[in-house]
């Protein structure tokens, strides 16, 4: 069994960590970031930020970059993304 079980509901998701028994909620941005990282593993953070800004129809400005950093940190804390 995979460590993480993920269930998507429209743009959000919930994640069950079979190792810890914890359940997590992924915001639309965290979910999109996770999906992009999983499906396009070659992209660096800057490329992912640009791609997600396009997808969310927002400017890839500093504020959006901070939101991405926050989402990235939450995914790393959960263990869904590895800490560099």
């Amino acid at each position: 069994m995979a460590r993480f079980q993920i269930k998507c509901f429209e743009h959000e998701a919930v994640v069950f960590d079979t190792a810890s028994g914890d359940t997590h909620y992924l915001t639309p941005l965290a979910h999109a970031l996770y999906m992009t990282s999983r499906d396009q593993p070659g992209k660096n953070l800057s490329e992912m930020t640009t791609a997600l800004a396009l997808s969310f129809e927002v400017e890839p400005d500093m504020h959006f970059g901070q939101l991405i950093d926050h989402a990235m940190a939450s995914l790393q804390q959960i263990g869904l993304l590895e800490t560099p």
Partner: protein, 310 residues
């Protein structure tokens, strides 16, 4: 036979002796008590439920509610709830004997019936689809549940939503509806024919009384229902009646946090809970007038395609 077919004296004798075997939803109980208030509560509220000779029938839960000692019968009388001989709670004043039985039964089921994912929520059914009503205390959940079941919805439970882990269906547990404080006169006004037993005062939840479950809900207590909606009610004075779609993922998180045994079930709790949310529409519901709230629920049920028999 039904409990109402036992004479009060026979019921009291059985309760004080070997106990009364009683079926509620999927569970069988053996209840023992020498307290007249417990016998009175069972006669008034459980008349339609099946009873058997407790010497001949297996019971899932053995519960007893009695005074802790001879002295306590006279000096500030108290009652204890015991489950299989253990005392999970501190004693309460004698006046709270009947609500303590109901609370104790809720505890017994929520702590032991892990064949279900058990969510702290009221649940009612119409046209084969269940509306789950999770909400924090004070949100008007029990009042709304009572209003709906007095208006043609079937009572599945007012406290414990039992989701069968194998089928995903909701298992009825139509026990008396717990009413608190202002909701007691409100429901009496809403439906003067509803039977509400005598209130117990100064409990941890304020004044508490129980409403007898509708006969039809008890008759159909073995008929499960498909999840249709998860609706978070919120009573707010002078508010209009509004039904607003809410996030499914956040609804799942709330249910997981308010389930009695989600963490014990591990990955299967996640599977059962997400499957439930997948099937249900999720809403926030605000209301101030009970009749308008019932009308809104009726519109929702009438607009939904009828569920196939479970």
């Amino acid at each position: 036979m039904k409990l109402l077919q036992l004479s009060p004296s026979s019921l009291r004798k059985h309760l004080a002796g070997q106990g009364v075997w009683l079926r509620t939803g999927p569970f069988s109980l053996r209840i023992q008590s020498r307290l007249p208030r417990v016998a009175e509560g069972l006669i008034e509220l459980y008349g339609q439920f099946e009873v058997r000779d407790s010497n001949l029938a297996f019971a899932d839960f053995h519960v007893e509610i009695n005074s802790p000692s001879m002295l306590r019968r006279w000096f500030r009388p108290q009652v204890n709830f015991s489950f299989d001989g253990d005392l999970p709670f501190k004693p309460l004043p004698l006046d709270q004997a009947y609500p303590m039985l109901e609370w104790g039964l809720n505890w017994s089921i929520s702590m032991h019936a892990h064949q279900y994912l058990i969510i702290h929520a009221g649940v009612v059914e119409k046209n084969g689809l269940a509306a789950i009503l999770p909400a924090p205390p004070g949100s008007g959940k029990s009042t709304l549940t009572a209003g709906l079941v007095l208006s043609g919805w079937r009572l599945l439970s007012d406290e414990l939503t039992l989701i069968d882990r194998k089928t995903g269906l909701i298992q009825p547990l139509p026990r008396p509806v717990s009413l608190k404080n202002e909701s007691i006169p409100l429901i009496r006004d809403f439906s003067p024919d509803a039977f509400i037993n005598r209130a117990s005062h100064d409990t941890a939840k304020g004044t508490v009384a129980h409403m007898r479950p509708p006969k039809e809900s008890v008759r159909r207590q073995h008929e499960p229902a498909r999840p249709g909606w998860v609706i978070f009610p919120k009573w707010s004075a002078d508010s209009s009646t509004t039904l607003t779609p809410r996030s499914k993922a956040q609804t799942f998180m709330f249910l997981a946090q308010n389930a009695f045994n989600y963490s014990q079930l591990g990955a299967d709790g996640f599977r059962v809970g997400t499957r439930l949310i997948e099937q249900a529409e999720c809403y926030d519901f605000q209301y101030s007038q009970l009749d308008q709230a019932v009308a809104a629920f009726d519109r929702l049920a009438n607009a939904a395609p009828a569920a196939k028999a479970a």
